[in-house]
Symmetry: C2
Subunit: 259 residues, 2 copies
């Protein structure tokens, strides 16, 4: 049993430390004080360039290690290297660092390279895209849901398709992360096709672009038509279950209370 996860590490100055920080959707209004504090304490900030940009003033006076989108391994190795040298490092992800973010990779590399456990580690949770998008749409996640990434960069499409099938069969609300990018263009319509085998074309579908950021865009459509919306890699797609309703401008999945 670990009971120390909530405490700040108070180690000797020579001891390195990594905070793996979820920034939330992007605005300072949705970043937790614990995340802000972890960033303030860090001397080095490691992350994907557009997320560093979200930090604004918080990144000022820090050393910044920024790399492009597909350099995740390199970036986390650099973070561990810096911490092993005794530096205080923050590795940032947007949303929650533990959901398709950097937390797993950092812990895997730490386990390989710091078996003595000399580097202090802390994972700071954040508001993930699923809940930020849900809040903008109303309350689509009030019942059981499945979170599926449509990116087949690291996962075979067969696995993703199988999960879409089973989640649709189970009448889970389905949250799609990474629904589409410039190079991944067919996966979303393939997902639609799979889900339509089990769910009505009239099922409400919500799309939120830039959830929780300035310029946020919110659409409520349905399973038959949502492909016409401008979904991209900054979008989260939420597909309702058989009970999901559109109530005025809100998308709501009732939990089952008698009204």
């Amino acid at each position: 049993m670990q009971e120390d996860s909530l405490k700040w590490s108070n180690r000797s100055p020579g001891q390195g430390h990594i905070s793996i920080v979820g920034l939330g959707p992007g605005g300072p209004q949705d970043m937790t004080p614990r995340a802000t504090e972890a960033l303030a304490q860090a001397k080095v900030v490691v992350g994907y360039r557009p997320y560093i940009a979200l930090l604004g003033e918080l990144a000022a006076s820090k050393e910044v290690v920024a790399t492009g989108m597909t350099a995740e391994v390199e970036r986390c190795q650099e973070a561990v290297r810096r911490a092993a040298q005794g530096q205080r490092v923050a590795v940032i992800s947007s949303g929650d660092a533990g959901i398709y973010g950097m937390a797993g990779l950092v812990l895997q590399i730490l386990h390989q390279e710091d078996r003595a456990g000399r580097i202090g580690v802390e994972v700071v949770p954040g508001v993930t895209a699923a809940t930020a998008a849900a809040a903008a749409l109303g309350a689509p996640l009030m019942h059981d849901f499945a979170v599926i990434s449509l990116s087949d960069r690291l996962t075979p499409w067969e696995t993703i398709a199988r999960r879409l099938n089973l989640a649709a069969q189970g009448d889970f609300v389905i949250v799609l992360y990474n629904p589409k990018s410039k190079t991944r263009t067919w996966q979303l319509s393939s997902a639609q096709e799979i889900i339509l085998q089990y769910r009505s074309p009239a099922t409400p579908v919500g799309v939120v672009r830039q959830a929780g950021r300035p310029g946020q865009q919110v659409w409520i459509s349905d399973l038959a038509s949502f492909l016409s919306l401008p979904v991209d890699m900054l979008s989260t797609v939420i597909i309702g279950n058989s009970q999901t309703q559109v109530l005025g401008k809100w998308m709501v999945t009732p939990r089952g209370y008698e009204l």
Copy 2:
């Protein structure tokens, strides 16, 4: 399309307003500034008594409408009634208000009783128990996951069992909310039995009690043995997928990067 979801409502003083606020796991360190601000603006705070207690000073000088656990409908109706009278109301949930929280119910009641849309509404997302628990365990949610509540108060057990079956078949990481209470005692072992049909007894299972609160307790066990842990209604249970590993004191589901 709605683009106003991020803006604060600036309505005339006589106009009522409801903020549906996710407090995060409970400590002020994990509550977003947007949630804090919504509470500061409210004159009336509506919620389940133990959650009101989490607010501490933030609830001082507010009128508090607190009720017991099963009075959700009554509580949300009272919130809408107050807002219809022109008051500024915050309805609070722990975690994220849109995940097994109060957001859906408030929007349903608003839709019934305020078809003219005179009451301003805002849903403020928070850090949900799944991500708070995941952060305490390491990084178990790095791949696709399903969130399932084991409470059969509002959902037939057959539906829950079916979802457990399909999520286990799909090799989703499975997050169990409401795993057990004083009166609901057999559901967790029934869930274990279902998942064991598809997953090895050695599959890592993490249990976090009071995630993100003082007194947080964290255990890493496996699918064969986790029932011996003191799981209760303050606990979140995370069952790994076929790839999930225990790395030192962390539970990690690799996303698939080559190391």
